[in-house]
Symmetry: C2
């Protein structure tokens, strides 16, 4: 970290904010692409279910999320040097801000559909955030599109021209680089890979359908599989760890138990790893990447997940050993990838 | 059709050949993109199963397919005017030839893996065809990549920048246009969409796995579902049509019966239409096209298939009515799309 003083170097600092299902994470990136500040607050969630809520109620909840974004930006500003306020070349408050959100962000910055951030869905996200950050250039984009921008430009996938980024968090996010450029599709919604249906008779998904890939292969999916196993009596160690109630087992309990050597927990992580590899093989059929980057909180469990994922991919991908290999690597920026990419996008004015 | 006479107009004629699971189809395309000749021969198939066959045996079968390609080219040449032989500006035998093949065609023109053309798999396809067409420029590419080139440039998807072409034939082929260009991925294998697994416990696929999309949603998939229904006694009219043996029911029998009004056959076509729409919804999650073009023999059944496909897509696509529409249209070039695109590709020297 360093404190700014209105120097011209300060002009190169950009802010990136990643709105996740559980936290709003912000970083300040300097002109040399170093992270010089970080801030985070919990993602506001109302206790009121959104199903059946009025547009006003939903709008209020979206506004609370926008408040959290503004709070993170204020913290970043304080950290990198509010002292530069008034400097002509980099006035306080003038820095560009990139904001990544999960779900279907259209080209006007509106969040059309977001199963894992329903409190931000349908409201005019760009206005909500823009009015809290007056005078700033705000760039809004899907979170995983920003994440793949970061990993492709300065992270784990530099040097590859065809990349898929898969973020394994509350759900699954996806960002796609084709021929060296982040591609967002005809309406901005490309890379919504977590909602490929992999089992039409599978468990219900917050998106309204059944058997989406993210029900099996995300942090949320891990929790789901673990609770099933716990209810069947197959996870005694994990259940003890999480207070004795099989229904309250969370994905984090399973990864912690797996890391400490619990063989039952490892089996559940391996099962999720298989599902991750299964979906990656499907993705490879469609876009044929040279490199797949895995990000999101779930990747913190490391090779316990990556090993089974790589094995399942090799076994399941069409053409198997007759095709050139696709490398599967963890994100260089870990959970910060989306925020780093958001800062890069803010500086460039978009995904270019 | 017109006969050439060594005129300069002849220089603009290119040949395109599409190798399918059942036929090798060739067309001659003039400089104004009109089809001026057509030729076809049956795809040679050995009675010998390829499983366990030696590389020499497989090579012999690949050579027979290459012979068929050369035969189609000779027929096209005869049709457009072998009389132009010797003309300095367009010597006989010098016309460029594009050849599309199903499966994973790499950047060197080698067919790495092809579940529906196993007799061409692994051999050096470019050499096999090239040595039969001496002095010609031969461009080899995945068949559906050529098909989407044709439909995007001069067919049903002109004016769209994000297009997916899905050919419903023996299997499913896929071609993808992103931001106005046909994209082939990191190794040339993008668009192998028929091998997305949609049911891990589904029926075995010639690719070696289970539950690939094309087992449910192609001409071959129609036959499979129909034989299941026939064995269960649910398709008496179709079984009668195909000689009384439920095991010998083919997809063509079902489409013919459906077109003549048989309600049982229509139900099977509708089921296939649902599966087509289901897979298109998955594809839309990944690449978000503005336009999806359906080609291949199965589309000949028209709205009996397209209706259920469009309804399933609208019901299943993520975001449903909150996202801008994606149009689903039949190919303008029908079963010729791959060959027309191959001719366009031959003329341009590739997919650019």
């Amino acid at each position: 970290m360093r404190s700014g003083g209105g120097s011209s170097a300060d002009a190169g600092v950009a802010f990136g904010v990643d709105i996740g299902g559980t936290k709003v994470l912000g970083i300040a990136l300097d002109a040399a692409d170093a992270v010089v500040a970080e801030a985070r607050v919990a993602t506001p969630r109302s206790g009121t279910p959104l199903e059946g809520a009025s547009p006003t109620e939903i709008g209020d909840q979206g506004a609370a999320v926008a408040d959290a974004v503004a709070e993170v930006v204020a913290q970043l500003e304080a950290a990198v040097g509010a002292g530069s306020a008034g400097a002509a070349d980099a006035p306080w408050g003038a820095r560009a801000v990139g904001v990544g959100a999960p779900g279907m962000v259209d080209r006007a910055g509106r969040l059309r559909f977001s199963p894992n951030l329903p409190q931000g869905q349908g409201v005019d996200w760009r206005v909500l955030i823009g009015e809290r950050l007056p005078g700033r250039k705000v760039v809004i984009e899907n979170d995983a599109n920003f994440a793949v921008l970061a990993e492709h430009r300065i992270g784990a996938a530099t040097g590859y021209r065809h990349v898929v980024m898969v973020t394994l968090g509350t759900g699954i996010g996806g960002g796609i680089v084709i021929d060296g450029r982040v591609q967002v599709g005809g309406h901005g919604f490309a890379g919504e890979i977590g909602h490929m249906v992999v089992d039409p008779a599978g468990p219900p998904c917050p998106c309204g359908r059944r058997g989406c890939w993210e029900r099996f292969a995300s942090g949320g999916g891990l929790g789901l599989l673990a609770r099933e196993a716990a209810l069947a009596g197959a996870l005694p160690g994990v259940v003890a760890r999480s207070g004795g109630d099989p229904e309250s087992v969370r994905g984090e309990d399973v990864t912690a138990a797996a890391l400490s050597g619990d063989p039952d927990a490892r089996r559940v992580v391996e099962e999720v790893g298989w599902w991750v590899g299964f979906g990656l093989a499907n993705l490879a059929c469609v876009v044929d990447p040279e490199c797949i980057v895995l990000g999101g909180g779930l990747v913190g469990v490391g090779d316990l997940l990556l090993g089974p994922t790589r094995r399942a991919f090799a076994e399941l991908v069409e053409g198997g050993s007759t095709r050139p290999g696709t490398v599967i690597v963890p994100a260089a920026f870990g959970e910060r990838a989306g925020a780093v990419g958001a800062a890069l996008g803010a500086r460039a004015g978009g995904l270019e």
